[in-house]
């Protein structure tokens, strides 16, 4: 967008020069030309920098999802909980919450030693929407095999959507602030 505007200004200046083909280029026009070239270049650069920063953040968010999935599949309750910020919030498929590192780790410990002890999940990022440069909403398709019912029988495979709010930490790392999951 911005670089388009810069190009427009540049085109207008070139047009102006063409109109004065035989005339001497006035000092004022020289300044205008220099300023326009600078603006076109720097706004294009700012745009490119912003786009590449968002690409880098999208990649970092996908990495955060992949690392969490990996910790989950190792049934490592501590590492799974460590993907959340200190006061992170989890809400289950039935809206049952866990809040904060201690509760989160206890929650994962419980599911990994009971009905999900042989379960394996696959998580695929569907979309990322940046709400600010440091806050993003992420939709993730999930599937699970190997789950059991509460009384130990094989449960059918499950799938649904994870909807996370992730926040960028001072370290540059993205972490889970709010976790919601649905099954369908």
């Amino acid at each position: 967008m911005r670089s388009d505007a810069g190009d427009g200004v540049l085109r207008a200046v070139i047009e102006e020069i063409k109109n004065q083909e035989d005339a001497m280029i006035s000092p004022r026009l020289k300044v205008a030309l220099a300023v326009s070239l600078f603006l076109a270049f720097s706004s294009g650069l700012a745009w490119a920098q912003m786009a590449s920063k968002m690409d880098a953040d999208s990649a970092a968010i996908k990495q955060c999802v992949a690392a969490w999935e990996d910790a989950w599949n190792r049934h490592d309750a501590h590492a799974t909980a460590a993907a959340y910020v200190e006061d992170g919030e989890f809400s289950s498929t039935t809206g049952v919450p866990s809040h904060g590192s201690k509760e989160l780790e206890a929650h994962y410990n419980e599911i990994f030693t009971t009905f999900l002890k042989d379960a394996h999940r696959t998580d695929t990022v569907r979309s990322i929407r940046f709400l600010t440069p440091e806050i993003a909403s992420v939709d993730i398709d999930w599937q699970m095999t190997g789950a059991r019912t509460r009384d130990g029988k094989d449960a059918p495979n499950r799938k649904g959507l994870l909807t996370w709010v992730v926040t960028k930490q001072r370290s540059g790392q993205w972490m889970i602030t709010i976790y919601h999951e649905s099954v369908f």
């Binding site: 919030e89 809206g95 959507l161 709010v165 926040t167 919601h180 099954v183």
Partner: protein, 131 residues
């Protein structure tokens, strides 16, 4: 800060109540206007609608078909401010419909991302889950 949060909390609860009123009037345009221009909706099966036009079409469809006699009751469960103008809201959700078993068609949780624009809270992202 605390009083700002109190004011915003009250405004968000009022906004959720207004949304439910529009929904219960089966006013597709009115419901869609609770979203920002490029708002995102995702259904219980994660079917997406994006932007006011698609949103209004979506609500027109549901209000003239399987939800034409439905009524929603939305109760704010929790609000978490992520920034002064950005809040995540969890809402307990109950949809009743005369022909549904026991009269209850849907029960679950709405999870919204709201943004304050020109002093007005609006939906940026709408997710819902049924259980």
């Amino acid at each position: 800060m605390a009083s700002n949060h109190d004011t915003d909390t009250a405004a968000i609860k009022q906004f959720v109540a207004n949304f439910a009123d529009s929904w219960n009037s089966h006013d597709a345009h009115g419901v869609a206007m609770h979203y920002v221009e490029d708002g995102d909706f995702s259904s219980i099966k994660a079917e997406a609608s994006h932007g006011r036009k698609e949103l209004e079409d979506h609500y027109t469809t549901i209000f003239t078909t399987f939800l034409k006699n439905a009524h929603t009751t939305d109760t704010v469960r929790s609000i978490r401010f992520l920034a002064p103008n950005l809040a995540s809201v969890d809402i307990d959700w109950l949809v009743t419909e005369p022909s549904a078993p026991g009269g209850v068609l849907r029960k679950g949780l709405l999870t919204w991302m709201l943004s304050k624009r020109n002093g007005q809270w609006m939906i940026v992202i709408y997710h819902e889950q049924s259980f």
